[in-house]
């Protein structure tokens, strides 16, 4: 049990290290970095590699933004398996990442509750 926390910590941390390398070494902006990571998540799932990573690392693989690309591809592939090419489009929206809906929901709630605090 403790092992799974450790694994989540290490795997999640390593994905963030890749992000930091893209920031500092490749000099990408945060936006470019996140897009790149999402795309790599989607591609990894295309090769069937992301699900095993989730099995292995749990939250270490589902919490980083890469999982977002994975779940979109995964949804599309699941539907494609059942309905062929049309499923590619419908599946993607059927399994909309809960991250998006949560972010929209909480973003709106936050705009009702909070104001930006300004500088430290």
């Amino acid at each position: 049990m403790t092992a799974s926390f450790l694994i989540a910590f290490v795997v999640g941390g390593l994905i963030c290290v890749i992000g930091q390398l893209l920031f500092d070494v490749a000099k990408l902006s945060p936006g470019h970095t996140l897009c790149l990571l999402v795309v790599s998540g989607a591609v990894l799932d295309g090769f069937g590699l992301y699900e095993p990573l989730i099995d292995f690392a749990g939250a270490g693989a589902t919490i980083p933004i890469t999982s977002f690309g994975n779940s979109l591809t995964h949804g599309a592939l699941q539907e494609a398996e059942k309905h062929g090419l049309v499923g590619v489009i419908t599946g993607m929206f059927e399994v909309t990442s809960s991250g998006i809906s949560a972010a929209i929901l909480f973003g709106f709630i936050a705009s009702l509750l909070f104001r930006s605090k300004g500088r430290p």
Binding site: M1, T2, A3, S4, F5, I7, E51, P52, L53, D55, F56, S71, H74, G75, Q78, V95
Partner: protein, 133 residues
């Protein structure tokens, strides 16, 4: 921050009370059936940390925990074991999962006395194991 650590800590403690490691527990069946389940599971011994198996009427429910590094091939292990179990028990409906939740729930089956609750629980476990994403 403090609250988050508290939540994480609490769930860590709660999560700590499943079946012990290195243990294979089988119940609910005839002694030789139980023996057979253990044998099948032990063939996989390199990768399985602990397991619980329960016979309930027509059903055989198995929850296994695989070693951390073997989790990469969790789905494969599940498939292989299910096949072997089905071969060993052709009359039973085998529900086998390496999911921690299924493991916990199967573990709890033993404590249930009432027929109805038991039946409900079995159905829940079976449906949980089929769910995807």
């Amino acid at each position: 921050m403090k609250r988050m650590i508290a939540i994480a800590g609490a769930s860590l403690l709660l999560a700590g009370c499943g079946a012990g490691t290195g243990e294979i527990r089988v119940s609910g069946g005839e002694p030789e059936e139980n023996q057979k389940v253990e044998e099948v599971l032990k063939e996989e011994d390199g990768r399985i940390v602990s397991a619980v198996a329960v016979f309930v009427e027509e059903d055989l429910l198995v929850g296994v925990q695989v070693k951390p590094l073997s989790r990469f091939s969790k789905t494969k292990i599940e498939e292989e074991l299910t096949k072997e179990m089905e071969k060993a028990f052709p009359e039973e409906t085998v529900t086998l999962s390496a999911d921690l939740k299924i493991f916990w729930e199967t573990d709890k089956l033993d404590e249930l006395e009432e027929e109805e609750k038991l039946h409900k629980k079995v159905e829940t476990i079976k449906s949980l194991s089929k769910e995807e994403t």
